[in-house]
């Protein structure tokens, strides 16, 4: 994947993912309507907004995990480096191998720490040698800032770790497959403030190598870590149906200091949501 070269002398940022008029429906319900936005390389893009605004639905369409929800239907385009992820010949499995995901609740597998991290590489590459696997596991745990804490007991069950450690294990697991983009759906929602700040600094470190998209409930977190922020909200249409949509997306600094939309301003000022 040579496209991932980062240095960009002109200052132009390269677009990694692009949503064009995205609509997601669950059964007859059009839950998310008409979202268009760009996600840039080696940036953290944060999705914020009140609950039910569709931000999680949108992030799930970025690596086709929406497919796993029965009755979910995606319309519009989700482009990844120019390829439409929902095109007919696209294999969602290939997509997920390039676009990794970390979930709201840490979800380690009921296996050893080592096997948790080695799982991705093992399923992708059939005949991985033992030393290769060991290298990947060590590098990934290093990268996720967990190595020093667990290097002596890699055979311990992933469940035995604390919540924050579990989430870093899940991050290590996600980067072990060497993805291009890392999606994080409220990764700190179930963590205490200390664990949260560790994950936040980890994100700011990971963005040097990866493109990161994060959904968060916590505006301060978006302000602290992200380069760009997308603000979503929900509204009720003429038929009484509730739907989410994108209000605006801009540089985080601008969004928080001088948002162009009144609704964003109100939300950030804490007047609703």
């Amino acid at each position: 994947m040579d496209v991932k070269a980062n240095s960009n002398p002109t200052g132009d940022k390269s677009v990694v993912m692009q949503l064009q008029n995205l609509n997601v429906s669950y059964g007859p319900m059009r839950a998310v309507r008409d979202v268009s936005l760009d996600i840039y390389q080696n940036e953290i893009t944060a999705f914020i907004g009140p609950s039910g605004c569709g931000k999680s639905t949108v992030i799930r369409s970025l690596n086709r995990t929406n497919d796993l929800i029965e009755g979910a239907k995606v319309e519009g385009k989700v482009l990844y480096r120019g390829l439409d992820l929902y095109a007919e010949d696209v294999d969602p499995i290939e997509v997920r191998r390039r676009i990794g995901m970390v979930f709201q609740k840490p979800n380690p597998f009921p296996k050893s720490i080592f096997d948790n991290v080695a799982y991705g590489p093992r399923v992708i590459q059939k005949n991985l040698s033992k030393s290769q696997t060991q290298d990947i596991v060590e590098q990934s745990l290093q990268r996720a800032g967990l190595w020093d804490e667990v290097k002596t007991d890699l055979n311990k069950n992933g469940f035995a770790l604390s919540g924050g450690q579990q989430q870093r294990l899940c991050i290590a697991r996600a980067i072990a497959t060497n993805p291009d983009v890392l999606l994080m759906d409220e990764p700190c929602a179930s963590l205490d403030p200390i664990a949260t700040s560790i994950i936040e600094s980890l994100m700011m470190d990971l963005v040097k190598d990866y493109t990161v998209v994060i959904v968060t409930h916590n505006m301060q977190q978006a302000a602290r870590v992200s380069d760009r922020t997308a603000f979503f909200t929900a509204e009720i249409d003429g038929n009484g149906e509730r739907y989410g949509y994108l209000v605006e997306i801009d540089d985080t600094e601008k969004m928080f200091i001088n948002p162009s939309n009144k609704r964003t301003e109100d939300y950030i000022a804490g007047r609703f949501g």
Partner: protein, 290 residues
Amino acid sequence: MTTLINKTNHEHTPLALIFLSLLWFSLFTAATFLIILFGSLLLDGFSRLNGDLFTQYNNTVPVQAGARAAILGTLFVVSVAALMTVPIGIMAAIYLEEFADKRNRFNRFIELNIQNLSAVPAIVFGMLTLGVLQILGFSNKNIVFGGSLALALLVMPVIILTTREALRAVPQEIRAGSLALGATEIQTTFRQTLPAAIPSIATGTILAISRAIGEAAPLLLLGALVFITYDPNGLLAGFTTLPIQIFGWSSAPQEEFKTLAAAASVLLLAILLMMNGLAIYIRNKFERKW
């Protein structure tokens, strides 16, 4: 204040007390029955609970009779049945729980069908097996293969249902985590979901096999109530099993045979209790609370 003081009286009206004692009575009846059943069998059969029960073949002379052929027959027939039914049952459950599109009519029909099969009278599986043996051209219906087939078909729905429950108990996040790493659905199932469910599946399977061990009705139809004085030695050999032997001895007129039936019942219950204990042990030791 009065209402607060009356609170206990309010719960302890005569009617409420009668109601509660009726509930206790129902529990008491069930427990007493259990104790009397175990106690009477033990008392009746005690004199014949010795090595002869295991080493002697059946005999027309009650004092020389034992259950050797029946014990070995049970072991053999049930093992073969388990080999036939456990893999198929687990695979069927995996399909229904992990892959089947629930909106598809045929899949829904399969589900309904399995629910019904789990409640079909045991004896019907004996009649089915008679039909199958006839089609396969076996002239002898009392063969190990037939007995195993009948028991396998009988417990398969049970295995499917308990395996499905075990798979359902594995949290969705495990599957999502695996799929998000780019694993296929098959990889996810066989490397994550199924291994995580194995302890519960094992528990359910052991209980299903216990049911096969104790079942007699379908085997009766295959003519397993026969006098066998040799160890079953092949899939086409004649056989009898412990429950059938108990049935045979219970219907015999001589009192000594009834004693033997009681002794064999105690043995059968002991085997089943051990299986149950094993199932509970596995459940407590390995089952994961998610």
